[in-house]
């Protein structure tokens, strides 16, 4: 209402606005930046009703009424801008109330929003292609590259990295700040060495295997793991959960398989790059952080699920070749399952180990060789079980 043309001079003082008084709006033709103060009039032409836009100079423009739409999401308190559904860059900017009334009275559809171009089909195709490309990257390219690079890892560097990771895990699994204690009663250590030598027979590695038992009596963890550089750690609770030495031999074979397959190095490379990718992708919507950590965890454990199955297969072969029963692994898993239940549903996806039931089935199917001498003598087995006391 503030423009110089805001109020048309009324011929006579009257309460009601004169319906015949001229109304104006700013017209932009989309070709020049020139603002044209144009007179608006309703007209009925050959092809239905039109809004006649008459600039001060030049030819009048005709907008078909049923094609006129309001631009979407305009800030209130200003003029209203209109366009045509047929596209085109011409705009009508309407400030005066009389002019707005004129347009809205012509057709209520003019109050509807100007639609965008139809892009749905293309957007769906691009999105599907993008998701497929990301999946190929995360689940094929990066794991493949990690496996390739892991083979060229420098031995010294790998041992140093294993040292660091091992110390980190000892702190990570501890209750307080004090790292978990390494158990080492002389007799127990000797038994552990004997077991390692038996199980690792014929396995060729560029470094020595270093097997340790960690005292987790404060909070039993019931697990074993391998880090880079041939370091393997058992939690004491795992040894206590076993009923015979062959079960520990089977788990040791499984961890040795991880070492042979370069899994720790591969896993480090893979999860670092996967996490970097995801943190950038998710960073957009949320500001990153927690969510990307969670997704990264899911992917990282996804990697080692494959690795776990490969390690199970290697372990079965290795055990058979040294005359130990792979079925011990199945027995132990069965007992664990009876006691703790299976991991299923969503949590299964986040767990680093494939569902126990699958592994029991695989382990049983492996078949036992003719059993040779036991993994440890009863005396050695008793020593190993006492390694932490």
């Amino acid at each position: 209402m503030s423009g110089p043309w805001g109020h048309a001079p009324a011929p006579e003082p009257s309460m009601a606005p004169d319906p015949g008084a001229p109304v104006f709006a700013d017209y932009f033709d989309g070709i020049r930046a020139l603002r044209q103060r144009a007179r608006l009039r309703a007209q009925t032409g050959d092809r239905g009703r039109v809004l006649l836009i008459e600039p001060p100079a030049g030819e009048a423009v005709r907008w078909p009424v049923r094609r006129i739409r309001l631009l979407p999401d305009q800030a209130p308190g200003g003029a209203l801008a209109y366009g045509l559904v047929t596209g085109g860059e011409a705009r009508l900017v309407v400030e005066d109330e009389e002019a707005r009334d004129l347009i809205e009275r012509l057709d209520p559809a003019t109050r509807a929003k100007l639609p965008g171009p139809p892009l749905w089909r293309r957007a769906l195709m691009v999105s599907a292609g993008g998701v497929a490309a990301l999946a190929v990257l995360l689940f094929l390219v990066l794991p493949g590259l990690a496996g390739l690079l892991a083979r060229f890892m420098d031995v010294e560097a790998e041992i140093a990295m294993g040292e660091i990771h091992y110390e980190q895990t000892r702190v990570f699994f501890a209750q307080g700040l004090e790292p978990l204690r390494e158990c080492g009663s002389p007799a127990g250590a000797a038994a552990l060495d004997a077991l390692t030598e038996r199980v690792a027979q014929g396995v060729d590695l560029p470094y020595d295997l270093q097997v340790a038992v960690l005292d987790d009596s404060a909070r039993p963890i019931l697990n074993a793991y391998a880090v880079a550089g041939g370091r393997i750690a058992f939690f004491n609770s795992m040894i206590q959960a076993a009923e015979r030495p062959e079960e520990i031999a089977a788990i040791l074979a499984h961890e040795i398989a991880h070492v042979v397959n370069d899994d720790p190095v591969r896993h480090t490379l893979q999860s670092a790059s996967g996490l970097a990718v995801i943190s950038v992708l998710v960073g957009d919507v949320t500001g990153g952080g927690l969510l990307s950590g969670m997704l990264g965890g899911a992917i990282a454990s996804g990697y080692s699920r494959d690795a776990e199955l490969a390690a199970d297969a290697f372990a079965a072969d290795q055990l058979r070749s040294v005359g130990l029963p792979p079925s011990a692994l199945g027995e132990m898993f069965q007992r664990l399952r009876d006691r703790y239940g299976d991991v299923e549903g969503l949590m299964e996806h986040f767990s680093t180990h494939p569902a126990l039931a699958d592994r029991i089935r695989t382990a049983d199917a492996a078949g036992d060789p003719p059993i040779g001498r036991p993994a440890l003598t009863p005396k050695q087995w008793a020593d190993l079980r006492d390694i932490c006391s």
Partner: protein, 394 residues
């Protein structure tokens, strides 16, 4: 040069209200949360449309013509490109770092350092997309391609700024602005930056003094273990903060006011440091307040729900864990999206209004003579900028 007649000048105004903007972002943020982020492309588009239309120069509103689906596709394209680049680079660098340094740290740092050129690339492409989709008086702005050259320029001047201990930072700003201005078109004619770099040095000195002071204090207190000098932080900390806001405000005023268009057209802006600090302080206080109130309300609602639903949920452990993950995700999205939405209402919009109120354009006659120029389609839209969350929300 410019004819100073009132007829040749166009003043600007920013219409709308915080309330109306809040109503819009509340709606779009709720939809974004409900769709787990997918609606964000629509949310961004709608708030931009609103903000653009709120700015009126010479009585004519700006118009934002970007499309949500275009942004979605751009985001996907940019995401794939950056993911491939980052994934491979991180892997190779971490491998090298493990072998050379025995740890992944240096490799990770190098990888993110190598992301910086991509960041500047994204900045230019994002700006280019915005300009290509900004119209005024039915005529589109545009920007010529040049993201890699811009990225190279930014890398070069950033290195020079670091080597000169920050002294060349104002020159860097001037160089980047000049590059962007020269490549920016309105219709068929382009902008120029007329300010010489040396005029930007004085307003930067307080910030520089503050930053040098902080570095020196850290060296004295940390390196020389003279903790009795820790009070220097109280001197240089505020100086650095105030100096930085002062520099941002004054450099923006000088740079933007020196933009010339076509023959003699140009613009003037008059942001004030005190006002900018006031808007930031008040704005962030308001954001915090609204978030706290929302959190309390949510806790009450949750408590009520828990009490009324408890008899049905006999055993919480039997509940599918997907519900917990979903609940956590929703809370997380609500908090972060809520924060950037509120920032838009209480900080960004007031800043736009402050700058807009002092904006003046000279050369109405030359603007009238502008004709439609070329503006090209960009397949990646502002996907790269979106990926780096530039301007979060705008």
């Amino acid at each position: 040069m410019s004819s100073g007649t009132a007829l040749d000048r166009m003043s600007a105004e920013v219409v709308g209200s915080k309330g109306a903007l809040f109503a819009l972002v509340f709606k779009t943020t709720a939809l974004t949360v409900a769709t787990l982020g997918i609606y964000s492309f629509w949310a961004r588009t709608r708030t931009r449309r609103w903000l653009w239309s709120s700015l009126r120069v010479g009585g004519s509103p700006f118009e934002y013509v970007g499309q949500p689906l275009e942004k979605l596709m751009g985001f996907v394209i940019a995401a794939v490109i950056v993911a491939v680049y980052l994934g491979l680079i991180v892997m190779v660098l971490i491998f090298a770092s493990l072998n050379l340094f025995g740890g992944p740290g240096p490799g990770t740092a190098a990888a993110f350092g190598l992301l910086l050129p991509v960041y500047w690339f994204a900045q230019y492409r994002g700006l280019r997309y915005l300009l290509n989709h900004t119209r005024w008086r039915g005529i589109s702005f545009s920007m010529t391609p040049g993201a890699w050259r811009y990225s190279g320029l930014a890398t070069l001047w950033t290195l020079l700024s670091i080597l000169s201990l920050g002294l060349l930072w104002p020159v860097r700003q001037q160089q980047l602005w000049r590059f962007r201005a020269r490549n920016t078109y309105y219709g068929d004619d382009h902008f120029r930056l007329t300010i010489p770099a040396r005029r930007l040095v004085p307003p930067f000195l307080p910030a520089l003094a503050g930053i040098w002071g902080l570095a020196a204090t850290t060296y004295i207190v940390g390196g020389m273990e003279r903790e009795d000098y820790a009070w220097l932080y109280l001197l240089f900390g505020p100086l650095a903060v105030f100096g930085w806001v002062h520099w941002k405000t004054v450099s923006f005023r000088l740079l933007a006011s020196s933009l010339a268009f076509a023959g003699a057209a140009g613009l003037t802006v008059r942001p004030a440091t005190g006002r900018v600090i006031g808007i930031h302080t008040g704005g962030w206080l308001a954001v915090g307040l609204v978030l706290v109130v929302a959190l309390i309300a949510a806790l009450f609602a949750f408590g009520f729900l828990a009490v009324s639903a408890l008899p049905q949920i006999e055993n919480i452990e039997e509940l599918d864990p997907i519900w917990f993950v979903l609940g956590g995700l929703l809370f997380y999205l609500t908090f972060f999206l809520g924060r950037s939405a509120l920032r838009l209402v209480f900080v960004t919009y007031p800043l736009i209004r402050h700058v807009g109120q002092g904006l003046e354009v000279r050369g109405a006659a030359e603007v009238n003579a502008v004709r439609k120029g070329e503006s090209s389609h960009m397949h990646d839209a502002d996907g790269f900028a979106n990926l780096f969350d530039m301007g979060s929300g705008i």
